[in-house]
């Protein structure tokens, strides 16, 4: 993937390869925190932060520690440890900066640790053999893509409250259907640029 401009990867990971709506990673918090635009924005920003930092850190860990020592098979554990620590750090920072956001995010802040989108990005970065710059921009782009998706979802759900929905579909049911429709809409972007 040497040839690809990092900026192409950045935009591609926001739109054509949206981590959430194309790869369907990170659904758990996407469905449960998308009830309010404000909290979605907070969680979205947290995910952007964690993704950018972890892709950089994991790049270093992978190419400067795991690969030279021939222990690439430990990458899952190593990546998760890095992600967990970054999330802990983020938790402290958010508690210090904005208590409101801290309370609103609640359990979903520590749960970013097990948000599969984060691990997914680190693994994709290794599989696709990105360079350091590419990896960081891929991480940031994926984060922004995730944030975009959850914000769109929150906006739609805010309107859903006033609609008549069949009782059986209320809550997660209709949310899943909507994310399916949103995913189809995102396929429309795929003509712009293609990355794998």
């Amino acid at each position: 993937m040497e040839g690809l401009s990092p900026w192409v990867i950045f935009f591609a990971s926001i739109f054509t390869g949206n981590i959430l709506l194309v790869y369907f990673l990170g659904m758990c918090s996407f469905l449960s925190v998308s009830k309010q635009v404000k909290t979605s924005l907070g969680l979205g920003l947290a995910v952007v932060f964690v993704l950018t930092i972890t892709s950089a850190l994991n790049y270093i860990v992978y190419y400067y520690i795991l690969e030279p020592l021939n222990i690439e098979y430990l990458r899952y554990i190593a990546f998760i440890i890095v992600i967990a620590s970054v999330v802990q750090l983020l938790e402290m920072i958010i508690e210090r900066i904005s208590e409101t956001l801290y309370i609103n995010l609640g359990i979903f802040l520590p749960l970013i640790t097990v948000n599969c989108a984060i691990l997914g990005v680190s693994l994709f970065m290794v599989i696709r053999k990105y360079t350091f710059i590419q990896s960081v921009l891929f991480g940031a782009g994926s984060g922004i893509g995730w944030m975009l998706a959850i914000l769109a979802m929150a906006g739609i759900r805010a309107r859903l409250n006033e609609q008549k929905i069949p009782p059986a579909l209320r809550g997660p049911g209709i949310a899943l259907i909507i994310s399916g429709i949103m995913a189809m809409a995102f396929i429309g972007f795929s003509g712009i640029v293609q990355i794998q």
Binding site: V61, I65, L66, L69, N70, I71, L74, I77, A78, I81, V82, S85, Q88, L89, M92, I93, E95, R96, S98, E99, T100, I103, N104
Partner: protein
Amino acid sequence: MITKILIATLSMAGISGLLAIILVIAERYLANYGECKITINNQKDLIVKGGSTLLSTLNSQKIFLPSACGGRGTCAYCKCKVIDGVGPLLPTEEPLLNKQEIENQIRLACQVKVKQDMLIEIPEELFNIKEFETRVTLIQDLTHDIKLVRLQLIEPYEIFFKAGQYVQLITAPYAGVKESVSRAYSVASASHEHDHVDLMIRLVPEGICTTWVHNYLNENERVKIIGPMGDFYLRDGEGEIIMVAGGSGMAPIVSLLEKISKEDIERKVTYFFGAVRKKDLFYIDEMRNLENEIGNFTFIPALSAPEPEDNWDGETGLITEPLDRYLSRSDNATSQAYLCGSPGMINACINVFVKHGITRDRIFNDPFA
């Protein structure tokens, strides 16, 4: 093979160790708020350790804001004005504050955390609230379910309160109850007696504190109280004082009557006390004595369902009935009403008072309702 395992283990341990160190350092700097200065009413400075809630920080400095729910953010008693040094309104506070309070920078002390120097305002009389170490000198049955508890003050040895105010009694852990709770009880003793307080405590079905008092507390034990609190006290005025109480609501009324007697307040006083049967009546002799001591005082007990063996010849019916009859005969233009008892009784009596032209601003009731 062994080296391979060793390298793998060591490198993973190294990564984890490094990250752990970073986290510990971050915790040291991010989660540590150091010493903060809380300025109260622009006159008193407290140097405290940051990081805990304002309510518990103030408590540790022996300043007691009222709190009934123990910091759960449900009772909204611990409201105080925070002028500076606090973040935006928290979602846990929002439902308990109205628009006007939010504009006036009123916050819930149990939710707000001390993270920097703060500028707060609290009512002056809260400085008077202290924690008292006391000894139980008397536990006496007043009725089958109400006990009188006398607490002799040890440290501080004197209490200054307005007749009608209440204190919070702090329970000791007992049986399966592992933690202390605090509950509010009106003081029944006279406000000119500074060395002890009397409480009248009625057994609440499955109540945490009342079960403790009735079944576990013994004479000579030490208990803590916090007080005095509350704005139920005798107001200035010329007109008649009409008091209504039921059950342990007798307590603050006794204190008010003692004050009226001691200070020779020359106002007409009428006191209605409601009970179901004769065995729910108490303090009759004390009331008859007070009738002699206070110039113009009438005590009217009423039973709603006297037993045949009670041989009751006084007023009968719900307390609202004799009250209604009395008010329709008297001049209520300047009368004041003082109520204490179960919320149901208070609500019913307020309706009767309002019906007879005693407006809400002349009706006072204890704050636990």
